[in-house]
Symmetry: C2
Subunit: 210 residues, 2 copies
């Protein structure tokens, strides 16, 4: 057991998550110039960490970000974020941000930023309350569409989620638990924090794109 | 003259911009749940502040944000951010963010967040270098499209700008100064930090949407 709310790793230091901030002019905030991945820890073990690392690197590649560390270092940092918090079950985020523009200006050449890596752990939580996930949750097909890959490459897991939030408002207004968004091409995509699977004749199907 | 890099107003306090941060789990960062506007100061005067305030409120309305302050308070804060920095010419940002989810979790009900207002000033700067703006800058029509309103309402000026950054990479790779993005419907929209105007028969035209 632990009272920790989480541990963050930023600028080479481990700090309580309550004290973890990014600068208000960092392009990760002002331009959403950031990719991430989340890996879970269940009973002291990471779940499919290799796969998450692989997807994280794909995300980085899609938007020309390059974490300034090796996979070995990332693994070490993620484990430290969990260990130092004393968590047995946790969610662990890894992020790569563009890094500040030279001179601290709000605009600049993104090719010359020094990309940054950060990570943080928080206690494990359920996106839809656990009881609801057992009895069945209500989803809502939103009017708001998921931003298309031709604008924002959704293969790169990123923090540009205004479409997901607008859809969430629609779902909550309708008394549902969570929304599902349709692509601009008219196909099912995903919701905020959830994927969509359809089981048909004992086979599970999920969207192949977006 | 002043050595200040800028002054920020956040959580009711004025602080040097170098010391101004937001929490790494704030939905303004993790979900891009934020709108903004920028007003310029030239020779000690705000330029069209009324219009910027009006647009700021429109942006807030589009995504159901409500700044916890009056227009009089916003005007006062913006002026303080400039005065305290000693700027004669400046860019001044005003932001409204959703505010943290209760319990500090990464997911939650956005309807019950306490919306936050913040602002900051920085010295005036040119997006395209001044010399280039006089001799003519090279723009690049990007392959990356601007996210459509049906996904992210671009009437709400916001920080979900991954499409703009991808387009900027394309322009810089091609040796151009800045990109212009086409909408998913095939019309000219804007670039990162610039609008597009076409002058034809002594009349100026600019896109009416997106």
């Amino acid at each position: 057991m632990t009272d920790s709310k989480g541990i963050a790793y930023k600028d080479g230091r481990y700090i309580p998550i309550e004290e973890s901030f990014i600068h208000i002019m960092d392009p990760a905030f002002t331009k959403g110039d950031v990719v991430f991945d989340v890996v879970t820890v269940w009973d002291d073990n990471f779940f499919r960490l290799d796969d998450h690392l692989e997807r994280f690197h794909s995300s980085c590649d899609y938007v020309r970000l390059s974490p300034p560390c090796t996979d070995g270092e990332i693994r070490h940092v993620l484990a430290q974020c969990v260990d130092r918090a004393g968590f047995s079950r946790a969610m662990v985020w890894m992020l790569c941000t563009r890094g500040p523009f030279s001179g601290g200006t709000a605009f600049g050449d993104p090719r010359f930023c020094e990309n940054q890596f950060m990570a943080y752990s928080v206690p494990y939580f359920w996106i839809v309350p656990k009881e609801r996930s057992e009895t069945g949750a209500h989803i809502w097909i939103a009017e708001t569409r998921r931003a298309p890959d031709v604008a924002i490459n959704q293969r790169a897991k990123n923090y540009n989620r205004m479409d997901l939030t607008a859809a969430q408002f629609e779902a909550l207004d309708a008394g549902a638990d969570n929304p599902v968004l349709i692509s601009t091409a008219g196909f099912i995509t995903e919701g905020p924090g959830n994927n969509v699977w359809i089981i048909k004749n004992r086979t599970a199907f999920t969207p192949g794109e977006n």
